[in-house]
C-alpha cells in the first residue's frame, strides 16, 4: 500500500497550467523529494496532495484510499515561509495545532513540550512567535507539523532561508522521523539537498514530471559518464571531441562529460600525456546534471 499516489493530476489557474497530468508514487517509509526550479508547480502539487486545493482532473490517493478529510489527521504539513500566528505564544500555538489534528489538549501540550526540548526551543515556549528568529520560527513550524505524530509529513522548502546550524538540527529531526518509519516528502529547488537526503525523487518542470522514481536507479540509468580531474599543466586533452563532450572548470578541478562511447582510460592517458594528474575519479552524474539533461530532452 503506497502512502501517496497521484494519478494524472492537473490544475490550471485561468490559462496558466500549474500542474499538468502529474503522476507519482510515494512508498511508506521513504524520503521523497519533489524537485524543480521556482515556479515549476511544486507547491501546487503539494497543496492538492494534502487536500488544500482540489485538482481539476486526476486522482489523489492516500494510504491506499481516495483522499478524504479524515486523512488529514494522519499527515503533517509545513508550508513554505512562516505559517504561524505571530501574536500567539509558541506553546499555545503548537497545542492548538495539535488539537486541530485530534490530540487532546493535555497530550498536545506534553508532546509539544518534548519536541521543543529536543530542538532547543524550550526557553522560547512562552514567547510570542514574532519574537523568534527566522530559524526558531521554522523549528516551531516543524514541530507544528509533527506534534500529532503523523504517518506522513509534507514539507514545502523546509530548508530555505535557514542558517547551516538550524538546517543541521532540522535534518537530524528528519532522519529521526525516517528511522521511526514515517514517510517524508519535501520540496526543494536545491538539488544538492535532495541528493543527500532522498530515497526517491520526482523532478518537475513546467508542471510536468521529467523524472520520477528511485534516485539510485535514476542515477544508474544515466551511467558513469562523468570524470572529475585535478591536474597541473597543459589542458589540451580537454579539446578532443572524440573523448570529451563537454566540461566545466570549477577552478580547483574540472568536471568532464565523456563523449558517447569514449573510454575513460583513453582520457586518462591523454591527460597524463600533457599534464600532471593529481586526481582522476569516475563519478555518477549529479542530480543537477540529470535534471538539465532531462529537461533538455523534454524540450527537444
Amino acid at each position: 500500500m503506497n502512502t501517496v499516489e497521484l494519478n494524472k493530476i492537473r490544475k490550471s489557474y485561468d490559462e496558466f497550467v500549474a500542474v499538468d497530468d502529474l503522476s507519482l508514487v510515494i512508498r511508506p517509509g521513504e524520503v521523497y523529494g519533489l524537485l524543480g526550479p521556482n515556479g515549476a508547480g511544486k507547491t501546487s502539487t503539494l497543496r492538492m496532495m494534502i487536500g488544500i486545493t482540489v485538482p481539476d482532473s486526476g486522482m489523489v490517493s492516500m494510504f491506499g484510499e481516495p483522499l478524504r478529510r479524515a486523512h488529514t489527521q494522519r499527515l503533517g504539513y509545513l508550508p513554505e515561509e512562516r505559517g504561524l500566528y505571530k501574536k500567539m505564544k509558541v506553546l499555545d500555538q503548537l497545542v492548538f495545532l495539535g488539537e486541530l489534528k485530534g490530540l487532546s489538549g493535555h497530550d498536545a501540550a506534553r508532546r509539544a513540550g518534548q519536541w521543543c526540548e529536543r530542538l532547543g526551543l524550550k526557553e522560547w515556549t512562552g514567547k510570542k512567535v514574532e519574537e523568534l528568529s527566522k530559524g526558531m520560527q521554522q523549528k516551531a513550524q516543524f514541530i507544528g507539523a509533527v506534534v500529532h505524530d503523523p504517518q506522513f509529513v509534507v514539507m514545502d522548502e523546509p530548508f530555505s532561508g535557514l542558517d547551516p546550524a538550524s538546517a543541521m538540527v532540522l535534518k537530524d529531526a528528519f532522519l529521526e522521523l525516517k528511522n521511526a518509519g514515517k514517510t517524508l516528502l519535501f520540496s526543494t529547488h536545491r538539488m544538492d539537498t535532495a541528493e543527500r537526503l532522498c530515497d526517491s525523487i520526482c523532478l518537475i518542470n513546467h508542471g510536468r514530471a521529467v523524472l520520477e522514481g528511485d534516485l539510485g536507479k535514476i542515477r544508474a540509468g544515466y551511467g558513469k559518464r562523468n570524470v572529475q580531474i585535478k591536474y597541473e599543466g597543459d589542458a589540451r586533452f580537454l579539446d578532443d571531441p572524440k573523448l570529451v563532450q563537454s566540461f566545466n572548470d570549477y577552478g580547483n578541478y574540472v568536471e568532464v562529460r565523456l563523449a558517447t562511447g569514449a573510454d575513460p582510460q583513453e582520457l586518462l592517458r591523454a591527460a597524463t600525456a600533457c599534464a600532471r594528474v593529481n586526481k582522476f575519479e569516475l563519478m555518477e552524474p549529479s542530480l543537477e546534471e540529470i535534471f538539465l539533461e532531462a529537461v533538455g530532452k523534454a524540450n527537444a
Partner: protein
C-alpha cells in the same frame, strides 16, 4: 464541529487576552461619560449669576404680571453656562429639573419714553443691568417684543422667554376683561397628551421615549460592533492569509469551519465587551441617565429586548461575514479601507431610514424595507420597538435574514478558500465569480 469549537476558543482567548481589548473596554465608557454625561450635568447646573432685567411696560400692573411669570415659572435647563461652578450643585441637582437654570431679578419700569430707553441702554453698557425687555403698548399690540441685552441667550432660553411673555400677555388681556387669579390659570392650563397603545383588547401606555432610547442604543451598539469587530474579522483573515497560517489551517480544517469559528469567536469577544459595558452602565450610568430623563421613564418591553438580542446578533453576523470575504479578497489593509465604506453603506442607509420608519411604522415603505436583509437588523427592530408589527412580518424578515447570512457564509467560505491561495494582486469581480465556480470542493 470540534475544529470549529477549537477555532472559536483560539480567536476568543487570543483577543480577550490582548491589552487592546482591555483598553477599548475601559476607554469607550469613559468617552461616553465624557461626551454625554458631563455636558448634561453641566447643563442642569444653575447659572450662579442672576440675570438682572428691567421690564418696561406702560402700566405697573402688566409689569408685575411679567415679573411673576419670569421669576416663578419653570424653565427647561438646557443652556450650559461656561462660568458655572461645577462642583457646587453636583449632588442635589439630580432631580431639580423643574427649576430655571438661572435666576432672574426683575425690575419693573413703567416709563416707556425715549429718554428712558437711552438711560436703560447706558445701564446695560455700564453693567448695572444685564438687559431690558421693551413691552410698550405698541409692541404688545403688534406682538413684537424686543429684548436688549449683552447676552442674547441661547435658543432654548429665547423660546422659553417668548413662551412666558405669551402667557403674561394673555393674563393681562384676561385681567382687562375681568378674568383673573385662579380662573385665568384654569383657562391657560396646557394640554398634556398621553398616548395609549391598543392591541388585542389590551391597553398599554405607549412609551415613545423608551422606544426611542431602545432603538438608539441598539443602533449605536450594532454600528460600533460592526465597525470594530467586522474590521477585526477582516484583519484576522488578512493576517492569516499574509502569514500563510491559512495553509496550515486548511490542512487541518475546512474553510467553512475556519470561517464560522472566526466569526463566532470574534463575535463572542464583541458580546463579552458589550456585556461588560452593560454591567458597567448598570452600576454607574443608568441611575444617572434615568434621573436625567426623569420626565419619561425608560421602560423597554420584553419583546423589544428579545428583538434586540436577535437582530443585533444576526445583523452583526451578516456584516462581519461580508468583512471576512473582503479580507479574503484584498491583499492589504489599505485596500480594505476603500471597501469598508461600501460594506457599511447599507447600514448607513438603514440608519437614515430610521426616522421615516419611526414616524410611520406601518407604511408600505417601512414594511418592505424592514424585510430587506441588509436593513432589517435596524429597521425591523425599530418597528418592533415603536409599534410591534404583525408576527408574520417579523418571522419573514428573520427568515430572510438567516437565509441571507447562510448564503453569504457559504459564498464567503468559497472566496476565502480560493482568495487565500491567490497572492499578489487583488482579483477583479469576474475573477471572483470564476473562483466561486472553481471552489466546489
Amino acid at each position: 464541529m470540534r475544529n470549529t469549537w477549537l477555532i472559536i476558543q483560539r480567536e476568543y482567548l487570543e483577543r480577550v487576552r490582548q491589552r487592546s481589548f482591555l483598553v477599548l473596554t475601559l476607554l469607550l465608557p469613559a468617552i461616553i461619560v465624557g461626551a454625554f454625561v458631563i455636558p448634561s450635568r453641566l447643563s442642569r447646573m444653575k447659572n450662579s449669576k442672576t440675570q438682572r432685567l428691567v421690564v418696561v411696560t406702560s402700566t405697573p400692573q402688566f409689569g408685575e404680571i411679567v415679573r411673576q411669570q419670569l421669576v416663578t415659572s419653570t424653565k427647561p435647563g438646557e443652556e450650559a453656562s461656561p462660568d458655572a461652578d461645577k462642583d457646587k450643585d453636583k449632588d442635589k441637582d439630580a432631580d431639580d429639573d423643574d427649576k430655571p437654570s438661572r435666576d432672574y431679578a426683575i425690575e419693573v419700569d413703567s416709563n416707556s419714553s425715549e429718554p428712558e430707553r437711552t438711560a436703560l441702554r447706558n445701564r446695560v453698557t455700564s453693567g448695572d443691568i444685564d438687559g431690558y425687555l421693551w413691552l410698550s403698548d405698541d409692541a404688545v399690540a403688534a406682538r413684537k417684543v424686543t429684548y436688549y441685552g449683552r447676552e442674547t441667550g441661547g435658543f432654548m432660553e429665547k423660546s422659553w422667554l417668548s413662551g412666558q411673555l405669551d402667557r403674561a400677555i394673555l393674563l393681562e388681556e384676561l385681567a382687562q376683561r375681568g378674568v383673573g387669579g385662579a380662573q385665568a390659570d384654569e383657562l391657560l392650563k396646557p394640554v398634556k397628551l398621553e398616548t395609549m397603545h391598543l392591541e388585542a383588547g389590551r391597553e398599554t401606555k405607549a412609551n415613545d421615549r423608551g422606544a426611542f432610547f431602545a432603538v438608539l442604543i441598539m443602533v449605536m451598539l450594532l454600528y460600533m460592533a460592526v465597525i470594530f469587530y467586522g474590521v477585526s474579522v477582516m484583519r484576522a483573515v488578512l493576517e492569516e492569509k499574509n502569514s500563510r497560517v491559512m495553509e496550515v489551517m486548511l490542512s487541518s480544517a475546512t474553510s467553512t469551519e475556519l470561517m464560522a469559528g472566526k466569526l463566532i469567536g470574534v463575535g463572542a469577544v464583541g458580546l463579552t465587551q458589550i456585556g461588560i459595558w452593560i454591567v458597567m452602565a448598570g452600576v454607574y450610568a443608568l441611575p444617572a441617565l434615568a434621573a436625567s430623563a426623569s420626565t419619561g421613564e425608560i421602560r423597554i418591553a420584553p419583546l423589544t429586548l428579545a428583538a434586540f438580542a436577535l437582530f443585533f446578533l444576526f445583523g452583526y453576523f451578516l456584516y462581519s461575514s461580508i468583512y471576512a470575504a473582503v479580507g479574503a479578497v484584498i491583499t492589504s489593509e489599505q485596500e480594505g479601507q476603500q471597501l469598508q465604506f461600501i460594506i457599511l453603506l447599507p447600514l448607513i442607509v438603514a440608519v437614515f431610514m430610521m426616522g421615516p420608519v419611526m414616524r410611520a411604522p406601518d407604511s408600505p415603505v417601512a414594511v418592505w424595507t424592514s424585510m430587506v436583509p441588509f436593513f432589517s437588523p435596524v429597521l425591523m427592530y425599530v418597528r418592533i420597538a415603536v409599534q410591534p408589527p404583525p408576527v408574520w412580518q417579523i418571522a419573514l424578515s428573520l427568515v430572510l435574514l438567516v437565509v441571507t447570512i447562510a448564503g453569504i457564509l457559504i459564498l464567503c467560505a468559497r472566496i476565502y478558500r480560493i482568495g487565500i491561495l491567490m497572492y499578489g494582486k487583488r482579483p477583479t469581480l469576474p475573477e471572483i465569480v470564476k473562483w466561486l465556480k472553481y471552489a466546489k470542493g
